[in-house]
Amino acid sequence: MSAALRALQESFARAVLGGDPEAIASSIEPGGDEGVRRLAIYGRAVTANLVGALRGAHPVVVRLVGDAYFHEAASRFARADPPQSGDLNRFGDGFAAFLEHYPPAASMPWLADVARLDWACHEATMAGDGEPLDFDALARVPPEAQGDLRFAFRPSVSVVRSSWPILAIWEANQSDRDGTPDRVEGEDTVLVWRETGRVRAVALAPREAAFVEALAAGRGLEEATGEPDWDLPAFLEQLASHGVLAAFRTEIPVGPSPISA
């Protein structure tokens, strides 16, 4: 079934992705050099579309390396590892890992982590809203059950860890800044999420990061807190009020609201 069509599509893909028009050349009109030039229109369009998708998802990397550098790196990545989805907004998951091993980027060891932060922000724009935290229900959790509270995060939430000051770099390369980071040292752990339509990225202190990651791993509040010598309630209040936390569950059932019941 469709053997001839399959062979033709495979040859065509080799021409547009690999720049190898040999196999398809005998099947197309116009023939000769003109046909090869016409095929090249497809090659350029494929590259432009895939690079354009990566460009849109990695605005800070683009600004750091410039258009020509980005185009070269992104087109190499796209040709080697084309998208698995026809939704090009989902294309780019592996670009940070590619940059990590991209020889020309060896002098910018932070670049791959900046790409990870760009990608986390891009994904946050597409995530679902999820259910907001039910503050009333939370207030009714009896004290003896609080240590075992387990929180879920809103779907847009992610954490990016780096040994480089990626948040300072990322902030300095937003459109209203001149590119000069406020600091050039630090190991940033960045919490990314979407709050009322806008993507937010903030640095977490080591203790906050450990707490968030413990909650994300499904640990209860008490276990996630660790040493109780920090202002957990204030941090938890921030996570809750900025739309980071979603539903919670507890081992002990929470009674109905005295008003609505």
Partner: protein
């Protein structure tokens, strides 16, 4: 089927619509131009949530919407990507569009998508593949789709069926409609030395659910369908002839590169509206 979330809206065939692109969101929300419908690329709204989808839902409250897919890949030997089709189905039930369309081309092979509208040979083999995919899509979406003729820069020696006949056969065999792109018909005729009028004449009038207009780019290697300029005078002439034959059909002006201010796009759509109105007046005069 759940309860409808939006008012039922259909494009007015006597007024053209515009392709909705991100740079125009704010201007469109502010000026609310008189266009008959908004068309978006379906894939740009496949997200689970977020600002783009929120904008589209806001516009859907006031306008008829057409979902125009670029990557379902109806011509792939590999078959449809079930995840892609599911996301499209979810968007269709979320937006309640007046029209849903895809392209007569392929982009998917071996689990990868090349992100471009690649041409098919027009053969019995391709016809079988495309019709099976159109059947599957219409079944999954629970509605009729429109399929669009694409611009092509090469032709295949394997082609045994004229393009117009191929498109007409897909519609006849599957019951789908045709999204007739008059600019693509012109581009192909210029690039391959074929006859755009013969192509257009092969399409059954009753099958045409929508018409596309756009401006191509002239290069040393022929016309490239860049959607980056005004509609060419020759294409306006073909469009007038087509509307004279079909009567008023929902018409869309697309502009995807070198995107101009919204008012320039709306002015281009207004030219199509003038053609549609003249045809409508003639039809009423004849009745």
């Amino acid at each position: 089927m759940g309860a409808a979330r939006f008012p039922l809206r259909a494009p007015d065939p006597r007024q053209a619509g515009i392709g909705l692109r991100t740079p125009h969101f704010a201007a469109l929300a502010g000026s609310r131009p008189a266009v008959s419908f908004l068309e978006v690329h379906s894939e740009n709204y496949f997200a689970d949530g977020g600002p783009a989808l929120a904008w589209l839902e806001r516009f859907r409250a006031d306008y008829a919407v057409s979902l125009h897919g670029v990557a379902l890949s109806l011509g792939s030997v590999d078959g449809l990507d079930p995840v892609h089709l599911d996301r499209l189905a979810r968007l269709v039930s979320r937006i309640e569009p007046a029209l849903v369309s895809e392209h007569l081309c392929w982009s998917r092979l071996g689990g990868r998508n090349l992100g471009e509208l690649l041409p098919l040979p027009y053969s019995e083999e391709s016809l079988g593949v495309v019709c099976a995919r159109v059947d599957e899509a219409q079944e999954r979406l629970g509605r009729r789709i429109l399929v669009e003729n694409v611009s092509a820069y090469v032709r295949f020696r394997e082609s045994t069926i004229p393009e117009g006949e191929f498109v007409a056969q897909v519609a006849r065999r599957t019951g789908c409609g045709v999204l007739l792109d008059v600019n693509n018909a012109y581009v192909n005729a210029e690039n391959h030395g074929t006859d755009a009028r013969a192509f257009l004449a092969a399409i059954e009038p009753a099958s045409v659910g929508e018409i596309h207009l756009a401006g191509p780019e002239r290069t040393g290697d022929g016309l490239v369908d860049s959607h980056g300029a005004r509609v060419l005078p020759d294409v306006w002439a073909l469009y007038e002839e087509t509307i004279a034959r079909l009567g008023p059909v929902p018409t869309l002006v697309e502009w995807d590169t070198n995107i101009p201010p919204l008012e320039v796009l709306v002015a281009e759509a207004d030219k199509a509206t003038a053609v549609l109105r003249r045809a409508g007046d003639r039809a009423r005069g004849a009745a």
